[in-house]
């Protein structure tokens, strides 16, 4: 008999609002039952109630977050009304988005033991379980490493290990791979699938990067405005508004069943590939988006020999780089390859040990900060750092004032990026995507010639990314240069003309998107892996075959 691991009956969640106001429920009438040993992928747009659903599984909602939960949540027979999250720790393991924020101790081994210590397990048991878990997650060689010195993928695996030592029956993961580079994400997903297959543990994952997890999922739970639909992946993906490129390709080509992975798409796409070979169409450029401009674009930023050292560590080493008008460039590479440091150095607000940066005729480092941002703007990785006013309206007014622009410029820009954010909202209450939009608008108010963005796609859903791609295109279309760092190959395939790859502080590859991303499997987008022939996105495919049919 297969048991039910998680059972939600008529669950509605409502957070407390200001006095006298009864806010809309975040979840309404959710009925969901998850069987033991299933790997369930929870998808949904930002703010749809995914995190609330996940929090409800171990009682953090409402015990920790406050608010009002009606209906019942049962995990292996324990009702979260009677059990607090701490009393469910031996049953449900929860790993948050930012593993570093959840670490209590200093080293890997102590972190693995922390949960067991709290549960009062015997020392001999703890010793054995720590060793098992170190092996299970492939982190045995890191056992006495300080947690802060680990890479993102390692930290995420330690975080998973630290809840696995309590031998939970259910593992809940909130965006486990969002912040990771492709290699780190693969390590983490490999560890998760091993847990599912070896221990038959029930796993619930929420993830924006659906393309990374979809192929492993037994079931999709789609959260739309607080309501939940669930079903097998191939069924859910037929109608889902959130779909990775392989699924969109499958829908376009009318494949049944829909492909869930590159492998599926490769097998289903034999006919398409054959057709491509037969016609031997010119391999590139395929997309109307990527048609290079005939006129010679002017260079807006030229950097030579930029070097940044932190003590003995060389973060950026002799980087030569030029950014041209009308071009969107993407800077890719592992976590810790020096991408952020390079952006800050180019902008002039970060440290530079050696080298020269010119924006037009000026060195941004020699300009005052307020003049500098009119030549070269940067949206940092945590955009919230730039916000200090208490409403969106005040932030916009402040930005107009700082840039010496017409009042209302920033507000108009914000409405063009993401319309409908009320003026009186508090910036901290905005969703990740809205906050990014606000900071982008603030930086665009100064109308800089060069715009740099550090990991703008983090935490954005597919729609958010599509909007961002469009905005960046538009900025570049006005004769500006854009450089962004990202791990998201699909976004790069959609949005960038040119890709630079950084490793160990040096730029190791630089060229047109199609040439660079298809050269390495780690950076290739799904469509390129499935079809090849210089096609990167579903839009490319449509365009190519559209031309053929016409």
């Amino acid at each position: 008999m297969t048991g039910v691991a998680i059972d939600l009956r008529g669950v509605s969640v409502r957070y407390t609002g200001p006095p006298g106001v009864r806010p809309e429920p975040v979840l309404r009438d959710v009925d969901l039952s998850i069987e033991e040993g299933e790997l369930v992928l929870v998808i949904g747009r930002t703010g749809s109630g995914k995190s609330t659903l996940l929090g409800a599984l171990n009682g953090l909602v409402p015990h920790f977050t406050g608010g009002e939960l009606t209906g019942s949540v049962r995990v292996h027979g324990r009702d979260t009304r009677e059990y607090r999250p701490r009393d469910l720790a031996d049953l449900v393991g929860v790993v948050g988005q930012d593993p570093l924020a959840g670490f209590v101790t200093d080293t890997v081994e102590e972190e693995l033991a922390y949960g067991m210590e709290q549960l009062g397990l015997a020392p001999a048991v703890m010793r054995r379980r720590v060793e098992e878990t170190l092996d299970l997650l492939g982190i045995a060689d890191l056992r006495d490493a300080p947690l802060v010195e680990l890479s993102g993928g390692q930290q995420q695996r330690v975080a998973i290990g630290s809840v696995m030592t309590a031998h939970p029956r259910v593992l809940v993961l909130d965006e486990p791979t969002s912040a990771l580079d492709p290699t780190g994400a693969e390590e983490v997903l490999a560890a998760i699938t091993r847990l599912v297959h070896d221990l038959a543990i029930t796993v619930v994952i929420a993830e924006h990067r659906v393309e990374r997890v979809l192929q492993y999922a037994d079931r999709i739970v789609h959260v739309v405005d607080g309501r939940v639909e669930s079903g097998p992946p191939t069924e859910q993906m037929l109608t889902s508004t959130i779909a990775p490129p392989v699924v969109e390709l499958g829908r376009w080509a009318g494949w049944s069943p829909l492909p869930m992975s590159v492998r599926d798409a490769w097998r289903a796409g034999a006919a398409l590939r054959h057709q491509l070979e037969e016609e031997a169409l010119p391999a590139e450029p395929s997309s109307p988006l990527r048609t290079p401009e005939r006129t010679e674009p002017s260079t807006l930023l030229a950097a030579t020999g930029v070097t940044v050292r932190h003590g003995a560590l060389v973060a950026v080493q002799k980087v030569d780089l030029s950014l041209r008008a009308g071009e969107v460039s993407a800077l890719m590479g592992r976590n810790g390859a020096g991408k952020s440091t390079l952006l800050w150095a180019l902008q002039g607000s970060g440290p530079v040990t050696d080298g020269r940066v010119r924006v037009g005729d000026a060195d941004p480092r020699e300009l005052s900060p307020s003049l500098r941002r009119r030549r070269i703007g940067l949206v940092p990785q945590t955009p919230g750092d730039l916000l200090y006013q208490s409403t969106v309206g005040e932030e916009c007014a402040q930005a107009d004032h700082e840039s010496g622009s017409e009042p209302g410029t920033c507000r108009a820009l914000l409405d063009r990026v993401v319309p409908g954010i009320p003026d009186e909202d508090h910036p901290r209450d905005l969703s990740e995507g809205q906050r990014l939009a606000l900071v982008l608008a603030i930086q665009l108010t100064a109308d800089p010639e060069v715009l740099l963005l550090d990991e703008p796609t983090r935490g954005l859903d597919y729609q958010g990314k599509a909007v961002l791609a469009e905005v960046l295109r538009e900025v570049a279309g006005h004769g500006r240069a854009v450089l962004l760092t990202t791990h998201d190959v699909e976004f790069v395939a959609e949005a960038a003309d040119r890709v630079l790859v950084m490793a160990g502080g040096e730029i190791v590859a630089d060229g047109p998107t199609a040439a660079v991303v298809t050269a390495s499997p780690a950076f290739a987008p799904q469509v390129a892996k499935a079809l090849g022939h210089g096609l990167l996105t579903v839009a490319d495919v449509r365009h190519r075959f559209g031309v053929v049919e016409a």
Binding site: G96, V104, M126
Partner: protein, 371 residues
């Protein structure tokens, strides 16, 4: 004899050793003895520290010690009482109004008074460096883990505070840098909210994340079916015993340390009794409270011979100083009237030298594995 297997010494052993040296330092202004104590601390720290972040902080304590000496001397020159016969810095004295009588603003600096100030600064610096030594040799977080169970929650609060502090510094740095991106180079009071607000919000967010993580990992987990009434009575008793016990210890210590105590020898036992009873009450409270918390320790640090030896050498340093104070009290201070070379009391010197032993008798610290 085979070389001892590398392992971390019990953190309490290092703290006991350091407190012994600190106690010794607090009893003397003899520059030779203070120098010897500093040398011993330095020697042991260099021999037995790891390259963990907390160990690297030893330098900061040394710098803090130097700053303390500098301040002590500066204050002496600015407002201290200047005495002595050998003029080293003739400065005009600034007359102060009647109500500030007793404070000499500037004025001629004499060698004797200046030396006295310098040595008092050195004494304080030695205390600070002794604590810094303990900090460098023993992970403060591991020390908290050896606390009795009843203090589990206090320990956790300290751990959280300790981990949030560096994050706070990192936040401030990030926000300061981000302000440049908005072209905001404003300084002074008006800039404070612009930095403080994002930093505070960031810190709050992180603390909430940490709290949520701890909650879902079972922090504060109690065995089920504890009748509510009994639990409340127990926690009341714990609080009462611990608090009254600690108060009794505090009052008793005043009595023990009171220099006029020797004048009433017939009641000399009273403060000591108060301390003993107070300690007993406090420990009873902790024991009862500790039974409530079912927390176990993963790989507890063992207490073996080297730990005992280490603490004993610290005790030896303090004891040697006490013996010298009883025998030859004049040798413990720097002779300033007239200035002469300081002497070297035998017991104190031997005690301090013994405290260098842990550099040899303790197992070496584990080295990080090559990754």
């Amino acid at each position: 004899m085979a070389a001892p297997i590398p392992r971390a010494l019990h953190p309490l052993a290092w703290w006991g050793w350091a407190v012994g040296l600190a106690v010794a330092a607090s009893m003397t202004t003899n520059p030779l003895l203070l120098g010897l104590i500093l040398g011993v601390i330095w020697f042991v720290v260099v021999a037995r520290r790891t390259d963990a972040p907390w160990a690297r902080a030893f330098r900061l304590y040394v710098i803090l010690g130097l700053v303390v000496i500098g301040f002590r001397v500066l204050w002496h020159v600015l407002v201290g009482f200047k005495w002595g016969t050998i003029v080293i810095l003739p400065l005009p004295e600034i007359a102060l109004p009647e109500w500030a009588a007793g404070i000499n603003l500037l004025g001629t600096v004499y060698l004797e008074g200046w030396l006295a100030a310098l040595l008092l600064g050195l004494q304080l610096a030695t205390l600070i460096i002794a604590i810094g030594g303990a900090n460098a040799l023993a992970n403060p977080k591991r020390l908290l883990r050896s606390l009795p169970n009843a203090l589990n929650e206090v320990g956790t609060a300290v751990v959280v505070a300790v981990s949030v502090a560096p994050q706070l510094a990192e936040s401030v740095q990030r926000v300061l840098r981000a302000r440049l991106l908005r072209g905001d180079a404003e300084r002074g009071l008006r800039a404070v909210p612009r930095v403080a607000l994002p930093v505070l919000q960031d810190t709050l967010d992180r603390s909430l994340l940490l709290a949520a993580a701890m909650e879902s990992r079972g922090y504060g987990h109690r065995p089920p079916a504890e009748p509510g009434g009994r639990a409340r009575r127990t926690s009341w008793l714990t609080g009462f015993l611990t608090l009254s016990g600690l108060l009794a210890v505090a009052f008793g210590m005043y009595g023990v340390l009171d220099p006029t105590r020797s004048r009433t020898p017939d009641k000399a036992w009273l403060p000591i009794l108060t301390v003993v009873v107070g300690l007993a009450a406090a420990f009873a409270g902790m024991a009862i409270g500790g039974r409530q918390v079912r927390v176990t320790t993963y790989r507890p640090d063992p207490w073996r011979l080297p730990e005992t030896v280490t603490v004993l050498t610290g005790v030896a340093a303090a004891a040697g100083m006490m013996i010298s104070r009883a025998d030859t009290p004049l040798l413990l201070v720097m002779p300033l009237q007239p200035i002469a070379a300081p002497g070297l009391p035998v017991a104190a010197t031997l005690g301090i030298l013994l405290a260098a032993l842990p550099a040899f008798v303790t197992p070496p610290p584990p080295t990080g594995r090559i990754r």
